[in-house]
Amino acid sequence: MTSTTTYELRGITKRFPGVVANDDVNLTIRSGEVLCLVGENGAGKSTLMNVLYGLYRADEGELRIDGTPTTFHSPADAIAAGIGMVHQHFMLVPNFTVAENVVLGAEPMGRAGTLDIERARAMVREVSDRYHLNLDPDAVVEELPVGVRQRVEIVKVLLREARIVVFDEPTAVLTPSEILEFFEIVRTLVRAGRGVVFITHKLKEALTIADRINVLRRGKVVGDADPRTATEAAIAEMMVGRPVQLTVEKKAAAPGAAVLEVRGLSVVEPDGRTVVDDVSFVVRAGEIVGVAGVQGNGQTELVEALSGLRRAASGTILLDGRDVTHESPRERHAAGMGHVPEDRQRQGLVVDLSITENLVLTRYHDAQFSSGISMRWDDARAVARDLVARYDIRTPDPEQAATTLSGGNQQKVIVARELSRDIRLAVAAQPTRGVDVGSIEYIHARIVEERDAGTAVLIVSTELDEVMALADRLLVMYRGRVVADLDPRAVSHMDVGLYMAGSRPGEASGHGDPGRVGGAR
């Protein structure tokens, strides 16, 4: 194809009110190789790529393409210069076909100015064949699995003749097997002479696919790593600035009596779809049960049913032997259930309220904080100060709004609120999503501590690494059912991935009876 093109970012500084998002960053991107950009949340990865893509203007520094200084005024300039971007959240019209989506914004015109859909389809087919993307131009996007939608985005970028493709956290939404397929596509792109920038916080993936790794911390490039020699621990240390415990350290579990017992639980959507299908399992005191699964296989609904936010169509939920199936969220809360919801900004916090107010959001009505009518704010503030110190929530003043906190610290507010009470069961959905490595380490340690104190813990996460590391017992959900009950120490990632995709290891496909594995082991 074309000869090598080099994109150089030199001395890029980008300031926002109160923060320096990028501080004198130098970065070289070459076509024909994979550059991994790793760093914690808020390290400035996305800002840097938005500068490259023409969405932001850098305050200082310049971009050189093959040595020629260039300025982008808009993404259109960047696209024209051969830069393409696949965003974390896909920019697709769900009820359009693949071909329609791909040409959106650059539609091939027929003679009378009409859309030449035939040519659009041919274009999709051609690119799809060249890069082995296996796309049907006539498929409607909303019916495609996430991994395939991502390939539609890739085709879009390739058709605009990108020499460099930037992927922002591309694997966050993929299953383990889809991730492998994605890596194949990346390799094909590189062989065809394109360059790939891969933004991630998953170090294992960076080490697998990268030709070079650049580490960002607090807006600066703090180092390069050679994927052939570097270790995860070394890169994590560069990212955080101190040695990090990557594996979860825990003793063997000592399960006690059953705390949560779910029997034949089903949840039905208003439109009639069964999203949780006859699920049964037990969580005992002093054990962590993990629920793995690709997003959208009923985990969200399961958690909502457990916490009382969604009505169970059938089945029972027992908490310490008491039937709580028809109790309100508050009653379950009072009965000793702590709940870390999956979306902290929408469900876990009222971000415009103060940190103190958020720390008492689920228990402001306790006698400790309220006389029944009026609030005892002084007591709430005292407790908040204590929690801020104990849970290492980084803020100058707990009276500030929760928006002022970083994602990791926001999550710590929720964890502090839910775990600092005397609880019997902790239900945590995606407890570390979008949280920096340092905070992940901290939150994991707290969860294990809680287990060791005799609490029953249910962790639901789409991050397979996380559930594998934390759980003492692993359930896998697929299409609303629990399809496997596994010992995480005795099973490989790949096998769990197969269960997540609906098949069973050692079988061609998911025949037989995949359901009903719950209950006792």
Partner: protein
Amino acid sequence: MNETLKSLRYTALAVVAALFVSAFIIVITDIAALREGDVLTALDTLRLAYWSLFKGSFGSLRAISATITGATPLMLAGLAVSVAFKAGLFNIGATGQMLAGGMTGLWVGFALDVPGPLHVALALLAGALGGAVYGAIPGVLKARTGAHEVITTIMLNSVAGFLTLWLLKTELFKREGRDDAISKLIDEDAKLPRLFWFMGKRIDLQAHLGFVVALACVGVFWWLLNRTTTGFELRATGLNQEAARYAGMRTRSLMVVAMTLAGAFAGLAGASEVLGLYGFASSSLAGDIGFDAIAVALLGRSTPIGTAVSAILFGALQAGGRQMQVNTDVPIDLIIVLRSLIVMFIAAPLLVKAMYRLKGEAQSFGQTFRGWGG
């Protein structure tokens, strides 16, 4: 605190900007002077107009009384909009709730036979109750069926309007000897006392104790928001309903609570007009107050103090506007223009920011308008 100061500054700047644009309008509409090329006279008109505006609102006891009289129902109705805003609801129904409260207050005012102060108190209470019940309706509709409160409150305004008109013609309410829609007079002891009673029986000092009631309600609203569990629930629900629900709050019941409170405030507005100002009810009892209340709440950013201050400002503009019309040829309609401009500048913080070249992020009204999401 810093946040409060910042928002106060924006509000003040918006008012200044509106005064400036209105000044421009006054000058260019002074056709008589401009035709003769006499710009100085036009400028003098402007000076006189704004001077009258001030004199007529704060320049004398009589002016202050007029300002207070205008501010009283605006403050109470403004609270009705603010409390709903705080819970994430857009209450357009202050008009209807005022009518409901005005009529129940009126009925207790003439039909009940109890001695002195108790009569006023009961009549006010009846007004609050009547408004509360009427306000609760859209709250229940929203909680039970999801019907959008903007739609239902607008419709309920019409219902209340015609219901009042009909009631005023029934034997129960009709004033004897009158064919138009005018109610009986309330008992003398059901009247809210004049605020400046110690000045003798001057008919130009109309300000009444309703203003004290309104100020008390501002205090209640502040206490409710900042000191009670219910207030905490209302604020949390208004800022993030989903998180409030996840935290175990009964967000549906809270909608009913917020709308009931809103209705009670607006009902008091109606009752205080009947018991303090008119002594009877007519179909134009609520006038435009219910809608002006939305502007009051917006200008006050739905805070207790802000609502009180902006109600007084609007009351002052109304009172001063009358003086301005008398002293100059500038019509009182300019006050409506001025008020609209203030609200417009408030709703467009970026515009104010650009005009004054302010640094930093402009505050948006995202929270206030969140009620639209349904």
